[in-house]
């Protein structure tokens, strides 16, 4: 399976994504340049984390108009799998691939730590290799991760089983709904209506080996491998 990882100016998760696919998963990975109109026949596109275009205006607002994004949007609209991580999630929302928006963390602080995340559904091409309800430890690193959408949209996401990951736990004395960024209903990751675009703020590609502190993210890539026909 061939994974294409888009490099925008300011991306910093592209190398991690590349490593996780090429080294850990053992599949083919290529970088896709933001100025090209060429997805190089990739089976899966990863929009990586980082600070594309310096987060100018709004996180993801400029990147969505990159030449390559026109091709990524067509790819996604025709059912191609897109894994949008962190800044990639912000870009996917700005591009209209996912509903809602990611706003400044409620604390106004950048949060970089290992957090607990629960798998809310295994019925997606991104999460079928997890156990239902599994609790994962995944790193987050963002200043704008507060998922926001109108309550009608959020109700629909919940009702359709499109909330894939949710923050849980946190400080020992916090309640079930603690979230590191103030996300609506502690949402950490969602899929689009067709189920082929996943946006998530935590970094599965940075949690693929116990040496990194957690290997809980690897199953996102393994799920794609299991489900996507090449």
């Amino acid at each position: 399976m061939k994974f294409g990882i888009v490099s925008f100016p300011g991306s910093n998760g592209d190398f991690d994504a590349y490593q996780s696919v090429a080294e850990t998963l053992g599949e083919e990975a290529v970088y896709l340049w933001h100025k090209d109109h060429d997805l190089q026949g990739c089976d899966v596109i990863i929009l990586p984390g980082g600070f594309s275009y310096g987060d100018y205006l709004r996180a993801g607002a400029i990147a969505r108009f990159s030449p390559v994004m026109q091709d990524v949007v067509s790819f996604a609209k025709s059912g191609g799998p897109v894994l949008a991580i962190c800044n990639g999630f912000q870009i996917a929302c700005e591009a209209g691939l996912l509903p809602g928006a990611l706003l400044r963390n409620e604390s106004l602080k950048f949060v970089g730590e290992l957090v607990r995340v629960r798998v809310e559904t295994t019925d997606t091409m991104f999460s079928n290799r997890y156990e239902a309800g599994a609790e994962l430890r995944l790193p987050i690193a963002h200043g704008d991760g507060r998922y926001t959408a109108d309550s009608e949209t959020v109700d629909r996401l919940e009702g359709d089983g499109r909330v894939v990951f949710r923050y849980i736990g946190g400080p020992a004395d916090a309640d079930e709904w603690w979230s590191p960024n103030g996300s609506t209903r502690a949402i950490a990751g969602i899929v689009n209506e067709a189920g082929n675009v996943l946006g998530m703020m935590p970094h599965p590609e940075r949690a693929v080996d116990p040496l990194l502190g957690s290997a809980d993210g690897l199953a996102v890539l393994e799920s794609l491998l299991a489900r996507v026909a090449v």
Partner: protein, 85 residues
């Protein structure tokens, strides 16, 4: 064609949590401005462009806001001024 300068306000939509505005309001309270009820922090964008007339400027600016300058999910925009320069 004339040269215009247009100013746009972008503000967080009412009802959406605005932690930045709340923090500024808290700071103003600390400074003794106890009458302050609410604060919202947004952006002020100045665009210079060529257009046939001020109507065309407004139309074009509106489109810029809808497509890029503001996020329709979370922000409102208002054209603050249009002036020939």
């Amino acid at each position: 064609m004339s040269h215009y300068r247009v100013a746009v306000h972008i503000t967080p939509r009412r009802g959406i949590l605005d932690p930045q505005g709340k923090t500024v309001a808290d700071a103003l309270h600390t400074l003794g401005f106890s009458a302050v009820q609410d604060v919202h922090v947004g952006r002020y964008i100045i665009v210079e462009l060529d257009a046939a007339n001020s109507n065309a400027v407004e139309q074009s600016t509106r489109e810029m806001c809808e497509r890029l300058l503001a996020n329709p999910v979370t922000e409102d925009f208002a054209i603050a001024s249009v002036e020939p320069i």
